[in-house]
Symmetry: C2
Subunit: 459 residues, 2 copies
Amino acid sequence: MSPIKPRTMPGVLELLPLEQIAFQGMLDTIRRQFERFGFLPVETPAIELSDILLTKSGGETERQVYFVQSTGSLRQGDRPELALRFDLTVPLARYVAQHEHELGFPFRRYQIQRVYRGESAQRGRFREFYQCDIDVIGKDRLSIRYDAEMPAVIHAVFKDLAVGPFTIELNNRKLIRGFFESLGIGDPERQTLVLREVDKLDKRGREAVAATLAAEPFALASSVVERIMAFVATRSSGHDDALARLAPLEAAGGTLGEGAAELREVLAMVRALGVPESDYAINFSIARGLDYYTGTVYETKLDDYPQIGSVCSGGRYENLASHYTNSRLPGVGISIGATRLFWQLREAGLIRTAESSVAVLVAQLDESDLTHYLGLANELRRAGIATEVQLEPRKLARQFQYADKAGIRFVAMLGPDERAKGVVAVKDLRRGEQFEVARQELAKTLRVELEQAAAMRGR
Amino acid sequence: MSPIKPRTMPGVLELLPLEQIAFQGMLDTIRRQFERFGFLPVETPAIELSDILLTKSGGETERQVYFVQSTGSLRQGDRPELALRFDLTVPLARYVAQHEHELGFPFRRYQIQRVYRGESAQRGRFREFYQCDIDVIGKDRLSIRYDAEMPAVIHAVFKDLAVGPFTIELNNRKLIRGFFESLGIGDPERQTLVLREVDKLDKRGREAVAATLAAEPFALASSVVERIMAFVATRSSGHDDALARLAPLEAAGGTLGEGAAELREVLAMVRALGVPESDYAINFSIARGLDYYTGTVYETKLDDYPQIGSVCSGGRYENLASHYTNSRLPGVGISIGATRLFWQLREAGLIRTAESSVAVLVAQLDESDLTHYLGLANELRRAGIATEVQLEPRKLARQFQYADKAGIRFVAMLGPDERAKGVVAVKDLRRGEQFEVARQELAKTLRVELEQAAAMRGR
């Protein structure tokens, strides 16, 4: 029988082990920082009931949904009962509504799981990918103060990921809305349409967007277009500059003033949370999720890789779960698309995949001494050091080659001479040097080396 | 609009946050031990191509498969192109065949992911659940020595999970097959049918099974039935007892002798790997995956909870990926069904869900001092301590109540007096005592307490 060609569906990122170790390190870092900020883990099933997942009928989202059917229920026409989640927000809404009376509020949850979208196949677009989300959900109300925690978490995560300088950009939807009202563009739908054009600034350029806004159906006066273009070009450089730009808007009062005041309060708390002012800024062009977000909005950009776009985004919303409960559940959250981020960082050459999670290979010098090697491995493993034993006979040079290629740093050798002296010979493949260490000291010595190396990688 | 009732599909285990913390702790423990034994992480997409997943036509497996279709491709009749994996073994086979030339062999991989089965709804049966697998895959051949690593990993995992005493039971399919051959039952299919009856011993009892084997279609002589029943009742007590039971079988030679010799070699290495002899035994009734396994097979039972059945099983197989490659890839592996295990341990009252992953709540004493609290939280977080800040004003007693209910152990208070003295007041809710500590010493002090508590939980 001729074999079936082994392959995955297009649009998934399947990694080789050393890449997977690097990716797992990224997820671990994100999780560690989410936990440090007091967020609690939640996992939800990948499969949800379709009527739960697809409360909004039709549209782009529904076309990208993967439906699920067991063999017995494959039928024509009927919309299948089950579907795969396409984000973590709808499952969160369902979760909070379902378990409302068992949760403490404000409810702080993190969730790191895969989501599924029937995207058309395209380089860098994924059909199955990780999202790493945090949200704080209030009952009836949620203080603006929670909005300030998000940039602090983003900052801690991206510092820990060690991906170079980055800027967390903030804006406020009330501020945007109030600004448009002050220009006489009061209709929210019209505001949305204008914002959608403004959102194309990076792609189309300033003049093309200005021309569109001056033409039908917008037909905005050129002075209005000019004010919009100036407004959305606003970027702060430093904390005081941000405050100075907000002050006149706050003084203007109304929705505009309210949005500016919120942003000011958030910035003050972001600073109090220890985020250096070089790492955040206000950017009035950020709109995000036009229908969904109602207050603070966030984007995060890598300073040296602007082409990557935002690597962590989110914002404040009025009511999480109106489809599932009559309780009012305002919230604020951010999301990191980890699969795409990893892929982009790898494309940019920022992913190190040289080192294994395995730290030590115990060499096999003499087959009849195998039990000695197993005993040594046992000691190292008990001390928390990831250890592999050479179980099949092989030339020592080949064992070194294997360890080197596999990214294993240390090869431990325990021959009769070493046993007589109570030592272990260790070859450090990274430093290219060999040393002897007392057997009782081996685990401690290696642990110190491994911890130093981890610290130097910025962990 | 009346809300849609929030709910999950039947057959999933969705956990509240404190339960999720306990479950996550279980997965972390399993992963830690897998890594210590030098296994490398692999993740594969949940969605595979149907023709890859369903190489065997029809049967029980296919009826339990969840097929996946994006909205555009919902059609009648055609078998959908995509399906959710129902285990981690088929994806491993596909992965190894696909990446064969980029992997080092023997390839040691661990994989901790969810799998999906369209099971009929029933208490304790899950449609979406975690499997935690390790496998070692050889190219052309794989030494029996790798079979001995599996019990060592199982031992390390279940010790670390601290679920009480357990026994890793071993058997060997060659030994079983050789035994049947010695009785004149040479046809593998017939052996399989007999083993399937023997497998019902626990449920049906000795007499009922013996009666079945004596009747058509088996029609075995009563002396043969007696020998089978005696054989499958074999359990060893201690290492030497196991060797003593194997010795005559090994002396018999043939397939039986070969199986006994393999088992002897595995047991010797299991002991050399530091597994205490109280924690493993031979059990000749274990057959497992009758068509699949060809040598060593494993089951693991919790001594105090026999009704749970095997919590970790696996074995040796001849050829992993014959459907996808002409290379011969023998392997050995084990699997832990973590979702079911967690559910069972919870039912047995063995899961502690009292403690949060959040260690400290920084109390809010005076709203105008919020920046001081944020600064303190910042220090704790940088020191790696998971910290939440009380952001909205609330009576202090309510803050204590909240922390207690949420499983947060420490409440840190930084009033004007404490600030003047350079200290922080800490209430330890577990010990019910309050103390003061120099601010510079706070993180270190709390870390020592938390590490001690973790150590006492058996980590």
